[in-house]
Symmetry: C2
Amino acid sequence: MDIADSSSDVIAKRPKSSRNDDDYFRSYADLAVHEEMLRDTVRTNAYRIAILGCCDQIAGKVVADIGAGTGILSCFCVQAGAKKVYAIEASGIVHRAAEVVKSNNMEDKIEIIRGRVEEVELPENVDVIVSEWMGYFLLYESMLGSVIYARDKWLKDTGILLPNTASIYMAPLTCQEYGEECTGSSNEQTDAVLVDTVEMQVKFWESMKQSYGVDMSCIAGYAKQNFLSRVHLGTISPQYLLSHPCKVLEIDIKSITQTDLNKLTGNFKFQCFGNANIYGFAGWFSVSFPCMKDVKISTSPLSHPTHWQQCILYIESPTRVEQDTVIEGNASFMQNKTMGRFLDVSLQYSVGEKNHGIRHFTLDDLCIS
Amino acid sequence: MDIADSSSDVIAKRPKSSRNDDDYFRSYADLAVHEEMLRDTVRTNAYRIAILGCCDQIAGKVVADIGAGTGILSCFCVQAGAKKVYAIEASGIVHRAAEVVKSNNMEDKIEIIRGRVEEVELPENVDVIVSEWMGYFLLYESMLGSVIYARDKWLKDTGILLPNTASIYMAPLTCQEYGEECTGSSNEQTDAVLVDTVEMQVKFWESMKQSYGVDMSCIAGYAKQNFLSRVHLGTISPQYLLSHPCKVLEIDIKSITQTDLNKLTGNFKFQCFGNANIYGFAGWFSVSFPCMKDVKISTSPLSHPTHWQQCILYIESPTRVEQDTVIEGNASFMQNKTMGRFLDVSLQYSVGEKNHGIRHFTLDDLCIS
């Protein structure tokens, strides 16, 4: 099948020797990313049910799939009765998508268009926009901007978006303290807040003198600041949450503007469950869909784990709270100014009467690996 | 302390706003890499013992530390009595090294020089070159070329190199077959050959029809070829080795030339332990040191695990062998032509009477993450 193309960078049309290496290697990386997303059954099943459940609004209609990847959401739309699906995808994975469309005999319904959303043209407006645009902490490397662009350009006034709402949640976190019995547990990797990892960073560099006879404690402060300036990813056990979660932000995908997206800010207020030390805050998101009100993707520590995991914002030093202590403040989310796909998060909060000022975090490539 | 500088790219001298972002983010990444290397006690203790054990040859002498990192090997050399150490390092980690040198009161002995080995100058020739230059499968992103350059330019005829020998080993591998009781084990990540991962790749794409109602089996072949074209990293349990290991290559660091390094080839011959299927070959390396003949770093599946893990070269389809079946052939190691830090490995082998032709593998960034 033919792939409509608005990009100057198409692997299939170029001889092997002149392939762009970045693209060549990235196409392998892409496949691994899509495999991870398809293995995430919470994510993929939610889209499947939401799309099939919207068949009344999709049957006989025109759909745009923004960032179509392997094309699976486009196939779901055809299964829901879509008359036509424009599957827009910028990366080399379009070649796999084309094979999938052909294998499922949907070539007459799905038109794959290779290119960036902002650079392609569609021959008609659409009734439905479907997109899996969410990144870590909702907004890291997120394609929400592209969805807004597509909505403003192609979506009919009566059209629908899947998903149509996205929310960010937070909650204060406690953890096992460094030195308690679980220290050094092999669960360190999977259970990110099992022990006080900030203190573990410091202890590691201080231990070099003992381990190897060379004093490296001078690196501890630098490593600690490095650690504290980053958003960490991990799967958080619910017992570490110190209060009910608070919805910090709710985004209506139908009405949010690019300007809104430049800086999203929301408030939180937590009432602590009991006496403990706070080591930081957990953050996660959910999205929901029209038609199927009870179908949503939640990446909460209280829900089934997803590939998005949860985010952890560590604070400088443990802060004591008691039953009913109130933690309140606000969180802002912005694109990193120098690296657009990175996410900057600012946190301003008080614990009881004490104002803890403002703290800044970045979610960048290093947080992911 | 001052850092002698031959690089135009020094973070400390530039105002924050004009920082090169790549360098800025990389300096954090560097720290994580060095932390991982320092946590590898097999590696760091071997260097410590080898250097202190060479004190007769180091005391009162001049040393070059090639790719000094946090400066720990330079400190070991001073502890072994070195008169002077030139610690050459290209990355931003030099600022941490400078702090370490100061903390250990070695500023009069260690001179940190920021820059690429090929671009810096030393005021004198050296008696000793110490370097931890080894990458995955010995040669991935390896700095052996820089060590050769430094040796030819600065090392006195009577000088010594630490390490002075490096060897690559291989052995045929069997594994648990897909569908046997351990399938889907949570050990999948850490024990890379627990199950037939090639077959798992294929089954995954074939299962999409069942899971989500979309036929994606067309991707299976592509995913399989992608998987088979890559060198995989993992920690291999010794019970999966199907013969005694064979030393494929031995490199004398004192005499190897840049020309030799362009293509290294060695032969192997294995005699199988029993009746089983071969799924591929394991590869690893060791390095040894002068003076301390019994000190070496071995990354074998039979030794204590290191951060280098082992490499796995999967073959197209399982091949049956019996007790004493002979597998022989040769392996070649070359820099990837388009991406210099990637490693290409070619394997030519026969199993019993049957010639299996030549297979090509690449060890690239995707293999690491």
